[in-house]
């Protein structure tokens, strides 16, 4: 630290202060993990690893297992990604490459506005608008004709895994869309022109250039969306049906980890009950951490490969 010249006290204070702030952030994350771990000890002691694969959730008999919640969180988030990624990437390409100039700003502004809506509003809209539309317009006919496929088995209630997935996809579109647009903006104009000048069509140009350049960025956007979908609470609990069962059919109600915590935490009585809810929080924490770490690893490799390719 030789650059601390002549005892410039302000510099020193500033450096120490920013250091302390960084440390506080780190400390908070560690503290969060430690508290979750400590509070989940009674449940860990009683159920052990079986907690992850047990499907019962009975507050009266104090028998708890996280399987239906883990399953619900994973399936609904995956469904959301499946719908949102093609939609947002497609929209991003349209806005940047095809849309007439007068359309660009309003469309992207409205799409980004979606991110500003509180999730409880999404939930209410979900109950009163989305669920009836999905139930009568999609689920009932599909269950009638394709009900023999296990994924679409009835009976149709309305609140379901599918409703949660669709609602989540709408909620994460603005994030994936805006990151995708930024990724598209990084394509060097010269490269686009090069492909076109060689006689490529617009489709070929986009395929080559995006394939070359943007896959890591779009992957990053997807992970950002996934992270949000995994932790979303309010909107999910309002449309998923809150049934602690891991069922294959997307038309059946399910439950998610964040939803069960929000639903039952305030009135959870008894140490094991409360501790089981905290343990679910810990698992969710670990899951998001794992997703982010894995994403980071994959991303680093992708970026390395992409830059080698040029």
């Amino acid at each position: 630290m030789a650059r601390k010249t002549g005892g410039n006290i302000k510099d020193l204070i500033f450096e120490r202060a920013t250091g302390a702030f960084a440390f506080v952030v780190l400390f908070l994350a560690v503290l969060l993990f430690a508290v979750l771990l400590r509070e989940s000890i009674p449940a860990l002691r009683k159920f052990g690893a079986a907690f992850l694969v047990t499907g019962t959730w009975d507050p009266v008999l104090e028998k708890f297992g996280a399987l239906p919640f883990i399953y619900g969180t994973v399936v609904s988030s995956f469904l959301a990604i499946l719908i949102a990624v093609p939609l947002s990437v497609g929209a991003a390409i349209f806005i940047d490459e095809y849309a007439p100039p007068w359309m660009k700003t309003p469309v992207s502004f409205l799409a980004e506005l979606l991110a500003a809506i509180p999730s409880v509003i999404y939930g209410l809209w979900g109950i009163f608008v989305l669920v009836p539309i999905l139930r009568d317009g999609l689920m009932k006919p599909v269950a009638k004709y394709l009900g023999w496929i296990p994924l679409f088995k009835g009976p149709v209630y309305g609140p379901s895994m599918l409703a949660a997935g669709v609602l989540l996809s709408i909620m994460i579109i603005p994030f994936i869309l805006s990151v995708s647009r930024e990724v598209l903006a990084t394509i060097p104009q010269r490269q686009k022109e090069a492909v076109l000048s060689l006689g490529g069509t617009r489709w070929e140009m986009l395929r080559i250039v995006i394939g070359q350049h943007c896959i890591p960025g779009i992957f990053g956007a997807t992970i950002l969306g996934l992270g949000r979908a995994l932790g979303e609470t309010m909107a999910v609990t309002m449309v998923i049906g809150n049934r602690p069962e891991a069922l294959l059919s997307l038309f059946q109600p399910g439950y998610s980890m964040a939803a069960v915590i929000a639903n039952e935490f305030t009135e959870a009585v008894g140490d094991v009950y409360l501790s089981s809810l905290v343990l679910i929080g810990l698992i969710l924490f670990a899951m998001t951490l794992a997703v982010n770490l894995a994403a980071k690893g994959i991303l680093t490799k992708m970026v390395a490969r992409a830059s080698r390719g040029i």
Partner: protein, 352 residues
């Protein structure tokens, strides 16, 4: 730079000064009573606190409606002056508290089955066993003979029954499952009673509005909500056969009747369930809601203010209940509560 320091020093001095003024004012200002607990009586309590503080400016209330469980935790930890709950404290919870906690009933609530059935008006008749059968998943269609024979004037559609229940832990669920546990042996053996239970069938909705949402949006749905909520949202409510064999519609009067039916046998600590209460007019899924206070108060002024407020609440306060869709405490119960209020004391001296 000097300027900046000077400004900072002045600001600090001003802050210290104004803080001193504010604290001084606060010491002379009104007494603030802190409370926390049940959400169900929150609208009533807000009205009470507002009216009471208007008449008695020396006392103010700060109530956090964090749920019954939270209310019990906070009064046990001593972080509030009073708690509030929809489900009485268990023996285990009472033992954890550092002193004796009194349950003071303040109002009555009722839970009502609601449904969405085209062609059927409000007042569909149900028996305890049919209701339990629906929630156990044994009666799955509306044209089941067990429902049809109770409602001969209505043509029951051949439709699936979609069962809705609360997904969040709640006193409403506690009263409802307490009722099913009391009236149905199979329910008692398979599910039991609690603020959250392992439901055999159905979809969970968050809060009264979540259950109401499912019921309103889903043809053929049945659910349960608080009476006030059903009334305010004009939902179709079922008539239920009570202990004495009469079909009763859920009303405020029928709820008060349930409390009157239990009044004679009401224990001195008021930790009593009103479900399946005797009395011809009694609505069978009723319950009390309580304010929790320590019998031995640590602060004389606060204790006295609390007792005075509770005396007011069980008398003048009861007149405000009906307008907010709560059922008032019947007179014999009010007299019994008065006896309990006399027990609240400071250093062995009654604060009544």
């Amino acid at each position: 730079m000097r300027n900046v320091f000077e400004v900072m020093a002045r600001t600090a001095a001003a802050l210290v000064f104004s803080l001193a003024v504010v604290t001084g004012a606060m010491a002379a200002g009104p007494l603030t009573m802190n409370g926390a607990g049940a959400t169900f009586p929150y609208p009533l309590y807000s009205k009470w606190f507002y009216e009471y503080s208007n008449a008695n400016p020396a006392v103010r209330f700060n109530y956090q409606s964090i749920g019954s469980g939270g209310g019990i935790k906070q009064i046990t930890a001593g972080t509030v002056n009073f708690g509030a709950t929809d489900a009485p404290m268990t023996e285990g919870e009472m033992k954890k508290a550092p002193g004796t906690i009194l349950h003071i009933p303040t109002a009555l609530g009722a839970v009502v089955p609601v449904y969405n059935l085209a062609g059927a008006a409000s007042g569909l008749r149900l028996t305890p066993d049919v209701l339990a059968g629906i929630y156990l998943g044994k009666i799955t269609r509306w044209n089941d003979p067990k429902i049809a024979e109770l409602n001969k004037t209505v043509t029951m559609p051949n439709e699936d029954i979609v069962v809705a229940h609360r997904s969040d832990g709640s006193g409403t669920t506690d009263i409802f499952t307490n009722y099913l546990t009391t009236v149905n042996v199979e329910w008692r053996a398979k599910v039991g009673r609690g603020k959250s239970v392992n439901w055999p069938v159905g979809i969970g909705g968050k809060g009264n509005e979540g259950v109401a949402g499912v019921v309103k949006q889903t043809p053929g749905a049945v659910g349960y909500v608080e009476l006030a909520y059903a009334k305010q949202n004009k939902m179709k409510v079922a008539a239920l056969r009570n202990k004495e064999g009469h079909f009763v519609s859920p009303t405020l009067e029928a709820t008060s009747a349930a409390a009157a039916g239990v009044a004679k046998s009401m224990p001195a600590d008021f930790r009593v369930s009103l479900v399946d209460a005797p009395g011809k007019e009694s609505w069978p899924i009723s319950g009390l809601t309580w304010i929790l206070v320590y019998k031995d108060q640590k602060d004389e002024a606060r204790g006295r203010a609390m007792v005075r407020f509770l005396k007011w609440a069980i008398r003048d306060g009861q007149k405000m209940e009906a307008a907010l869709d709560y059922a008032a405490l019947p007179k014999p119960v009010v007299e019994k509560i008065d006896v309990a209020l006399k027990q609240i004391s400071f250093k062995g001296k009654s604060l009544y």
